[in-house]
């Protein structure tokens, strides 16, 4: 038996890349010869093969192919039609194109192409459709995947590496100056709700007068420059200039320092297929306040305060309550840690991964 992991591009530090690399490692550890197939790779010490060659390697009836579906990529559909083994579609979700309307035609078109491919992928009749969340799997089922072929497995992550990593002491010192640090981690994209986050931060500063700062950790994308400018404009409108810190391209040590020094992880994201930073916050003990859109409620569970609106005052009051109510803070930390250990710990996920793949193994 051979296994192939198929994805359009492999990057070492994004959620899809981490998930694909972790699956390859697990399958190899089980003694299964596994290869990664993609169009291009960067930031990984892993040999990859062109997607078109996949059927030659793992096209047999006893082979396993796992396709990581996160953007439109017709080549993958063609490859999946050509293989005869056990086919798994790993669905990470695709941001609805309307989020990019007016910001980037390129992204809007790419997302539209990707979402238009969902019914085609559903019609492939693959043996297993593995959503990163129940929200994702429900989208596939709505597109025509038989419910009995749908399953849920959270994406493999690098949280354990983050737990083991040394925090950046300089950043820790800098942030540990007595101000309330509120953290948001995620790429700078219109679906992530940064503008609403700035509104909530302004409400907190005005409503409670605490010396506070907002840490925005995430890569800015030149292709989404107008969205970045919109965030900056909103910051300027609220006169929050020096209170908002942009941390672009942070390494693991800096990310850990940001989590450790923050009093809360806040996200008003409007669309997430899973949201790995929430799991990082759970593992590192940073209390969570989140907007319960898309897959966020099921990722957070009882490990944080989740709201169904983006009312900025609600988030401001939540942050003030978290600051004043130590038992609540501790309860949320404990619940989050429990949730991490029981649901997202690597050993738990590894066992579930192999349980789900049992028919193919």
């Amino acid at each position: 038996m051979k296994a192939a992991i198929l994805l359009p591009s492999l990057a070492g530090r994004d959620a899809v890349g981490n998930d694909a690399l972790a699956m390859a490692r697990l399958l190899r550890a089980r003694g299964i010869e596994t290869r990664l197939y993609c169009e291009h790779a960067s930031g990984v010490d892993e040999r990859t093969w062109p997607a078109a060659e996949l059927p030659d390697f793992a096209g047999g009836p006893r082979d396993l192919v796992i396709y990581h579906f996160s953007v439109g990529w017709p080549i993958a559909l063609d490859v999946l039609r050509r293989v005869r083994g056990y086919r798994v579609v790993r669905y990470h979700n695709i941001t609805p194109p309307e989020f990019f309307a007016g910001t980037s035609r390129v992204y809007e078109a790419a997302c539209a192409r990707g979402r238009a491919e969902i019914p085609d992928v559903a019609r492939l009749g693959c043996e297993l459709y593995l959503g990163a969340s129940a929200y994702n799997t429900a989208e596939l089922v709505a597109a025509g995947v038989p419910a009995e072929r749908g399953a849920v497995l959270a994406p493999f992550h690098r949280v354990e590496h983050l737990l083991d990593a040394e925090a950046d002491l300089r950043l820790l010192d800098e942030l540990g100056d007595g101000a309330r640090n509120l953290l948001m981690v995620g790429r700078i994209a219109p679906n992530k709700g940064h503008v609403e986050l700035v509104d909530a931060f302004a409400a907190y500063v005005d409503g409670y007068g605490d010396p506070a700062r907002l840490l925005i950790v995430g890569k800015t994308d030149p292709g989404l420059a107008s969205y970045t400018e919109a965030i900056r404009a909103r910051i300027a409108q609220h006169r929050l200039g020096e209170r908002v810190w942009w941390l672009d391209s942070v390494d693991e040590a800096q990310l850990k320092a940001a989590f450790l020094a923050s009093h809360a992880f806040v996200t008003l994201s409007r669309h997430e297929g899973f949201c790995v930073p929430l799991v990082e916050a759970m593992a590192l003990g940073t209390p969570i306040v989140a907007h319960g859109s898309s897959a966020i409620p099921e990722t957070v569970g009882d490990g944080g305060l989740v709201w169904d609106t983006t009312d900025p005052w609600l988030y401001a009051a939540s942050l003030a309550r978290l600051h004043a109510d130590a038992p609540l803070r501790n309860d949320l930390r404990d619940a989050a840690r429990r949730r991490y250990e029981r649901t997202f710990a690597p050993a738990v996920m590894r066992e579930r991964f192999f349980d789900l793949l049992e028919p193919a193994l």
Binding site: S42, G150, A151, E174, D177, P211, L247, V250, Q254, A316
Partner: protein
Amino acid sequence: MHRATLDQIRILVSSNPNDDYLARIKAEIRAEADAARERAPLPRLDPPPRAAVTVDDGIDRERLDYSLGELCGHDYIAFIDHAFRALLKRAPDDTGSALQIRLLAAGAPKAEVLGNLRWSPEGRRVGARVRGLLPRYALAKLARVPVAGYLLQWGLALAGLPLLLRHQRASDTLHAARFNAVADERREHARRLDELQARQDAFNAVHGEMRNELTRLAQRLDTLEQRAKALEHHAGALQQRSDATTHELADLRHYVHTANHWVASLQRSLDELETAEAAESARADELLAALAEPDTDARAARHAAWSAALAAALPPAARVLDLGSGDGRWLAALRAHGLDAHGVEVNRVLVERARAQARPVALGEPLAALERCAEASLDALTLAATLADDALGTANLLHAARRALKPDGVLLLRAEATPCAAAGTEPPHWRALLAAAGFAAPSETAAPHAGAVLARRGAD
């Protein structure tokens, strides 16, 4: 199976036990949010100012002037990275980096890559100046014009052929130098590898010792576990014994309770028997009292004669005990002669009748009263003949009488005229019994008051 998993996850999310607690907290937060919305904004407190550069990403954002040679001094990925940081003031993104590398791989000059970045919309916003870049970028772009571009490249190549040859020779030297440097590095790496190997060997040795220690600890642990199991086994046996003893104690307690019940029942039966016997005895006493000889002149005369005979045989105020005193009439006769006479009667009715007339009659068994008397303490002993109703009883009585009487004491047997007088109480019969018991010279009272026999205690 998968649908079940989905449902389980949804249930897990929706049926959290903390829901009530979080719902209460969230209701309080909602109320606070509504109140905060209505409040006037508070004065803002600034956090401490930020240090000059928080994250050292190696980008000098203040510098906007570069030379072409400075940017072209790197190759491949380092060249792309340097170009992004200098011209766009950021690290290269994956897509942009891959695109520029593909250009280089396709044979594009570095000036074209630099120009693409510098005059991109982002690069224009940054506005970095690269001295000498514009003409080279223009030439690179002209070279892409079909036919003309090709000819232009030909011309430039011919014109620059001597320079190219010089570059080629310089490149050969550079590569040779780099080859030497790489060889030096390889040697250095080999040396470090040897060091690492040595360290690994040392580590393996320590690791081996630790494994041995772990093995020993595991063995000790096994031993301890075995002992713990043995102790558990003993504890189990003790527990069984304790349980058995507890059961036995329970049985024993049951038996004791049963025996107590039987004893109580027996006691009640005995009490009832004693009560019946006492009632029977009282009825017998009443019957016998009713049958007692009435207080007639004949009786008084008989007693007077008998008491006179006895008093004559005794010293004055002699100590006399009468057994079977009845209503005490006989005692009164004795005391009339100045004798210190006391009596014992078994019939309670007769005793009460005697006490009513101030006659010293005690209630009790005659033989028991006699046996309680000290040896040789009585001057005389008088007995109602009804006490000697059988030979063995009479023999015992006489034996006890001999013990209690002084050496010359006197025994008087009196046969009262009662309807139940025994047949064996005739004086001739008594004489024989008295002689057998060690009494000397029995004599009978004379008529008309015969019926009493006097005998003196013989010598030992």
